[in-house]
Symmetry: C2
Subunit: 277 residues, 2 copies
């Protein structure tokens, strides 16, 4: 089977979660005008599994006539050797940095299986993260405005502007306790900060979104409703943005931002530290 030349099969192989290989592979491949089909092979911890992956890689090469790209991060030497014998273009994602670091630190690396996404790394920060997820779930979508003194950030905005995914991402990735509170149609007449939030206004950040995109998103949920109408969306966005300005709440337009971008920008604005997990 012939494929067009800018099409490639990509394998991410690891004896751990393969998250590092995927992250780096995506970032590098995003720079090239190439279409990809991705295969992730985590937890390749035995010679048997390694041979099976090697076979899949070689089979893909035979099928397509084009060498697959293999991004790998493997600690076990016997597994590594087998993967490196595949008929593929091979990229060891960590090795390129290990060598210079070794020189600069004047230290020998002590590779340990699956360390970078393992629970052992730092049990305390791990527990913080789980606690942050719980806190954030309990304070999603205005469910509760109790214990706001424990919040790291309080996100405000109209319904469907990205508050919930952003809150969860902040909690999950950075161990941040995020509250989010929606302003709804009924709030529009006399829009102001809820009294419970007032004492914590220094932790509030606004999210907003272009009306056009909001109409589209809301239509995806409740088509042809008041809720998703141009008039209603425009009114809500307009009034909420005016309130952010009036109350001097810093805010961010999420229209063309991913959840990762919104989250890291909020951290950047707020000066909150990432509690890496």
């Amino acid at each position: 089977m012939q494929r067009k030349s800018n099409f490639r099969d990509v394998f991410y192989v690891s004896d751990g979660t393969a998250i590092t290989s995927e992250t780096l592979g995506h970032a590098v491949l995003a720079q090239f005008p190439v279409e990809i089909r991705q295969h992730t092979r985590p937890f390749i911890e035995s010679v048997e599994r390694a041979l099976s992956v090697q076979k899949q890689i070689n089979h893909t090469y035979e099928q397509t006539g084009v060498k697959p790209l293999v991004f790998y991060s493997i600690v076990l030497p016997e597994v590594k050797e087998i993967i490196e014998q595949s008929q593929a273009n091979l990229y060891d994602v960590l090795n390129a940095l290990v060598e210079p670091l070794k020189q600069d630190l004047q230290l020998e690396p002590m590779p340990k299986l699956q360390r970078s996404h393992s629970i052992e790394r730092d049990a305390a920060s791990y527990n913080d993260r789980i606690a942050a997820i719980e806190y954030t779930l309990a304070h999603d979508d205005g469910i509760s405005l109790n214990n706001l003194e424990q919040a790291d950030v309080i996100l405000l905005g109209v319904s469907r502007c990205g508050k919930t995914p952003t809150s969860l991402y902040l909690a999950m990735q950075f161990g941040i306790r995020a509250v989010n509170y929606p302003f709804i149609a009924e709030d529009m007449q006399s829009l102001k900060l809820p009294q419970a939030i007032e004492p914590y206004r220094y932790k509030t950040y606004g999210l907003t979104i272009d009306t056009e995109r909001l109409v589209e998103i809301r239509n995806g949920r409740y088509a042809n409703s008041d809720y998703s109408s141009q008039r209603q969306c425009e009114n809500e966005v307009h009034r909420v943005e005016a309130m952010f300005r009036r109350e001097a709440i810093p805010y961010l337009n999420t229209t063309s931002l991913s959840v990762e971008e919104i989250s890291t920008r909020l951290l950047d604005i707020s000066g909150l530290r990432r509690r890496m997990c």
Copy 2:
């Protein structure tokens, strides 16, 4: 101020989210016996911000007498140049792979700002991901057992064994619709699959946990309660594991696994594809 020699300040610098630099930096540093203090500087998109980061790096060097480590992924040439003039050990996290890829693909890279974690990358998969988060939230902790035909996985287990963080991680990172359902004390007498789940048993996976760890976690929440007692935890774990075996539901012990590890192992067992976001 003198610090012990295996202590290093580490900067992650990017004109994007800095997520790629952080992920790779963590993975590489995990191999070295070194203590680190981390500083993340995302969205360094102007000469002005770049100079400010350069100053922070140089200041750290002056304060500690030890060169900071700088992991960076920067597209803007004028920003890159400034960071590369810092008094630090410098690691360009992508460049090491861009060169060989260029050769292998016979293509020129077309770097574009913030591409790898940007919403533009793939709008459809992005919307899938948001939908997955919503679905998963609506089906957290047994809240709803409706629309199970849309679930990708259904996680079962005792309270506090890791179901919720795992479900959210699956949704957030991989666009997977995860349902989770807890078995509680009242279920123990005649433990079985809920009737609503029965038709979808092929999508069920069990999570379990060592009793000792469960006692610890539950005590963190409700100290000295029946819920957190050794007797109750042991009983629940024992009965739920017996049911998993009786019903032939594949299960995973989460005690020493991180959320990333649980999630990627589940994907691996289930054969579900990662819908990369």
